[in-house]
């Protein structure tokens, strides 16, 4: 048994080892500038990963902006406002969202979401908010925006489920204290529940971010896959996970492969830090009570 426990640590060590070894070549060739350059040119063996970092960050940011209010709203409804008979059904259906594989989200996005974006949403945004410069250029549908939206749909379940957990842990007497002062239901939720669960909710959001950063298939299918940095959300983009998905199996040349592995290493490190931070915050609220395992 101790062997198995040890084995888990060995596994992580193996992962780190593989990533480090594989990225050596690229690291020696470019150093830190790897992440500051935008020129991704396999033909000339020039590799700059900035466009991918940009794409990953922007799509994840869009996802968070959309997902957080939705997820917290759902959590508040299910925990505090929902009639009891509905609660089980609702929580089951939100967990069902989490069970849908990424590639199916991508499939649906290609044939349903993108046409909707192209025909209705993007022209509307261009007309109303076009002055910001964020919504300009031809509305192909495939875009950073599309990636952000499908990511949002995918991370809502995890943010919502953890938010629900930390809200449920808040003791009933806190709610009663607020009510007894003459608070309306929303005020009671605000004062007696959300305030107490603050740290945990932030943790849930960060966990959602971690998930969004590493999400591959659905993003690859809708982001457009062009390594460019642009101001408009309608433009094509490229994320770190996507470039790995698209180019890894066809990478010729050791430097090319190494550059890709280096991107993988960066993705690995970032998600570890983000996830560790998130779990710390959630733990501080639930205080070590065993969390339900999230799919």
């Amino acid at each position: 048994m101790r062997l198995c426990g040890f084995g888990v640590v060995v596994l992580l060590a193996l992962i780190v080892y593989e990533l480090l070894i594989g990225s050596q070549l690229s690291w020696h060739a470019f150093g830190w500038k790897f992440f500051a350059q935008s020129d991704w040119n396999p033909v000339e063996d020039q590799y700059g990963a900035l466009p991918f970092v940009f794409g990953t960050l922007v799509s994840s940011l869009i996802a968070l902006i959309i997902a957080v209010p939705l997820a917290v709203g759902v959590a508040v409804f299910i925990t505090e406002m929902c009639p009891i008979w509905l609660r089980g059904m609702l929580s089951f259906t939100t967990e069902l969202l989490a069970a849908i594989p990424s590639v199916i989200y991508g499939l649906w996005a290609i044939f349903v979401l993108i046409p909707i974006l192209r025909t209705y949403v993007e022209p509307f945004l261009a007309k109303t908010l076009g002055w910001t410069g964020l919504f300009s250029g031809p509305p192909y549908g495939y875009s950073l925006l599309a990636a952000g939206i499908i990511l949002a749909i995918m991370i809502v379940p995890i943010i919502s489920s953890i938010t629900r957990e930390v809200m449920t842990v808040v003791p009933q007497h806190q709610r009663e204290a607020a009510l007894a002062l003459g608070a309306t239901r929303w005020e009671m939720i605000r004062l007696g529940v959300l305030r107490n669960a603050r740290a945990g909710i932030v943790g849930a959001v960060i966990l959602g971010l971690g998930r969004a950063l590493g999400e591959t298939m659905a993003v690859t299918m809708v982001i457009g896959n062009r390594p460019e940095i642009s101001k408009s959300l309608f433009d094509f983009g490229y994320s770190m996970a996507s470039v790995l998905a698209n180019e890894f199996s066809e990478a010729t040349g050791d430097l090319y492969l190494s550059a890709l592995i280096e991107i993988g290493l960066a993705l690995f490190l970032v998600t570890i830090v983000v996830n560790a931070l998130a779990r710390l915050m959630v733990w501080s609220v639930t205080r070590g009570q065993p969390a339900r395992t999230i799919a």
Binding site: H173, A177, L179, A180, L181, T184, E187, G192, R195, N196
Partner: protein, 252 residues
Amino acid sequence: MGVGITVEHLNAFYGKTQALFDINLTVQANHATALIGPSGCGKSTFIRCLNRMHETIPEARVEGKVRIGELSVYNGTSATQLRRRVGMVFQKPNPFPTMSIYDNVAAGLKLNGFRKRKQLDEVVEKSLRSSALFDEVKDSLHKKSGASLSGGQQQRLCIARALAVQPEVLLMDEPCSALDPISTGKIEELIFQLKEQYTIVIVTHNMQQAARVAEFTGFFLLGKLVEFDKTEKVFTNPSDKRTEDYVTGRFG
């Protein structure tokens, strides 16, 4: 000034189970009334019917009439509005842990739209003085959180919080059962002083406490109000045999 409470034919239910049977009583303004009885007799349920906290439990139901002052509790007033005029202190002190002492006391006021710093400062200080906590915390009003105080201090903080919104009635549900004897003593002293300005209803399982602080006492048994009279009479010369058995310790 406190107001009186009239209860007529009050019946309370948890789903299909009936917890209170035809309760009738009148609580006098500016006096302390104690409710005693063995565990599970309905005294906590009763007091929670007075400020409609009973309804927060799913499938809970109430029939009957309750008037607090000129307000009809179950007919016409919103629960939120009612609870602003009836304060409650709970068995386990429950200050808001993420707020400072000051913010805890001011919480009810802020909800009602009072934002002016000077006003809030005044009320917070007066409330903390009324609950005999001010001197102990006056230097750390904004620095310490509500949860960092001792048990007795937390309960006095909760009392201050309840007083800050100027209720006319103060309901106390076994306020000292989680506290040590010294803190209990301090709170009993407090009740003595507070009853000149408020109407107090206190649930207690400690008969000596009832004898110490209340002018009137009601004895509950199995959801019924068995006897309600001046405290002295209930303890020295009860009319009902069951009351006598309880106060002399023959059961409960």
